[in-house]
Amino acid sequence: MVVFDKPHALIDVPLHYCPGCTHGIIHRLVAEVIDELGIEGKTIGIAPVGCSVMAYNYFNCDMIEAAHGRAPAVATGVKRADPENHIVFTYQGDGDLASIGMAETVHAAARNENITVIFINNAIYGMTGGQMAPTSLPGQVTQTSPYGRDTKHCGFPIKVCEMLSELEGPEYLERVTVNSVKNIRTAKKAIKKAFQNQIDGKGFSLIEVISSCPTNWGMTPQAALKWIDDKMIPYYPLGVYKDRSAEKEAE
């Protein structure tokens, strides 16, 4: 008999996330993967600044709260402190990873730092109340782009997977989403691979998860999931952007 239960790596407490937010799903996927790989006892997670700042209260493994954007640098330190015995992941939003922490992101990738990065792209700053993010779409209305993101004035969104795929460094880059059962399954596979790569010593793996923010997008949860299909995915196509091991095998 299969009984639905919480993963051991997820603590049984109420999450603070808004109704309809997909952080809960992604937390669960990460925790399921940690359980399945049997690595909870050696895993150290790094929480960002942003909506998931309190992720340290939800994951059962050891957790560190980093300064805004600095999670990949902190993860570098934790990993290098004991490379054989530490499995290290960061969990970061788009403002954290692609704006204030862009240098840390790019250089951790360039070094092929043997860590796993879970990157939540919901095209907005959620925690601070819905400001324009580095990944906000052209024309997207936010609190700080009230007339829509004007690309002449403030430039274009950053496509993180595409950008990092130009580097020699990283091992694995994939963009997924969690707005349907099918997509959630794909996302879990990607996250598992990102952790397995680290276990195998292959290096930097980043999974970009296109996520929804019904509260700050001003939509119902269902409409937000549809907006991912209609607006986000056309701009941020899903798929594998780099898989060095697979490329090597193909050669």
Partner: protein
């Protein structure tokens, strides 16, 4: 007595750190402290340690944060503009009660300033450097020997009190060569049950964190941290006194300024002026006791600094402004010479400068 080796101050710091058990160094190039990184880059790979050149000072201090979270001795070094960049990390280290060693080989500022020696980061160092209520233990070496000794001491204190120890040196201390004994009594590192090293499924998860959203709780955290700071003030204050007991004119100076001042004190004594020197070795905690005692017999104090007058404020506080305190200084990378300090002593002794 142990053999002495001739070393640059910056190299002495690096070697002493390795002797103290530090196996992780992160830094970003900046003059005049680059020898620390160069030394670590050569040594660390050969002893199973980790030297990593970070993409920025900000990244370097956060790598320090990561290693410290994992319970290991770790350090970074930089010079003034780089320390400003590390300010964020210093605040987070304090907020998370993490031990670390940070070296500031000061150069002239503000802004990009120059690359010559300075002591103008005194405020930044002794008042914390970043945002929020906190302190670092600030150690001011005045010789290459002390660069090494205070590095070892800095790691011990950092671990003992779960604080950042900062070596506040300057360009001369970093660059000058002197014979050093590296024969240290290394204490065992304390247990760190709070460290995030993986639960091994044997304990509750550890959290390293500086976020505290409930005001009452954050207030309590700050109060408790300051109780610890009081212990540091009580137990760890260090200073050197030179001819203070009968002195009329007392110089306060640290680092290179103290060495120059000692010569001036000797010369003043030859001329019949009762001069003395108090050299703070810990700048935080500031050694108030020798000043409180000396103000009972001294006619005046002179603060000799490579800044526009920063430590002078602590001298005035420690002496409760009972007698005049004047400043004798050079800035911008210039160093006062003994003649300038002597002139200042003579003027003050004659009551010429208020």
């Amino acid at each position: 007595m142990a053999d002495k080796v001739l070393m640059k101050g910056n190299e002495a710091i690096a070697e002493a750190a390795i002797i103290a058990g530090c196996r992780h160094y992160f830094g970003y190039p900046i003059t005049p402290q680059t020898e620390v990184a160069a030394y670590m880059a050569k040594k660390m790979p050969k002893i199973g340690g980790c030297f990593l050149q970070a993409e920025s000072e900000i990244a370097a201090i956060n790598m320090v944060y990561g290693v410290s979270s994992a319970g290991k001795r770790v350090m970074t070094s930089s010079s003034s503009p780089g320390i400003s960049l590390k300010g964020e990390g210093l605040s987070y280290l304090a907020g998370s009660d993490l031990p670390a060693l940070v070296v500031n080989v000061q150069r002239g500022g503000p802004g990009l300033g120059g690359i010559q020696p300075s002591q103008s980061d005194y405020f930044q160092a002794t008042r914390g450097g970043g945002h929020g209520d906190y302190h670092m233990i600030v150690l001011a070496p005045a010789s290459v020997q002390e660069m090494a000794e205070l590095t070892v001491k800095g790691f011990d204190l950092a671990d003992k009190y779960r604080m950042t120890s900062m070596i506040l040196a300057d360009g001369t201390m970093g660059q000058m060569m002197e014979p050093v004994s590296l024969d240290f009594d290394i204490k065992p590192e304390p247990e760190k049950p709070w460290a995030t090293t993986g639960t091994k499924l044997e304990r509750e998860h550890n959290i390293v964190n500086s976020l505290s959203l409930v005001p009452e709780e954050l207030e309590t955290l700050n109060m408790k941290r300051y109780e610890r700071y009081k212990e540091v003030e009580k137990n760890e204050t260090m200073y050197e006194e030179y001819m203070v007991d009968d002195a009329d004119i007392i110089i306060a100076a640290f680092g290179i300024a103290a060495r120059v001042s000692k010569n001036a004190v000797n010369e003043a004594r030859k001329q019949g002026i009762k001069a003395g020197l108090i050299r703070p070795i810990t700048l935080w905690p500031f050694p108030k006791a020798p000043f409180e005692k000396a103000v009972e017999h001294a006619k005046a104090f002179i603060s000799v600094e490579l800044s526009m007058g920063q430590m002078i404020e602590d001298v005035k506080l420690a002496t409760s402004c009972k007698v005049p305190v004047t400043l004798c200084n050079r800035v911008g990378g210039m160093i006062p010479d003994p003649e300038q300090v002597l002139k200042s002593i003579i003027e003050v002794n004659n009551g010429g400068v208020e």
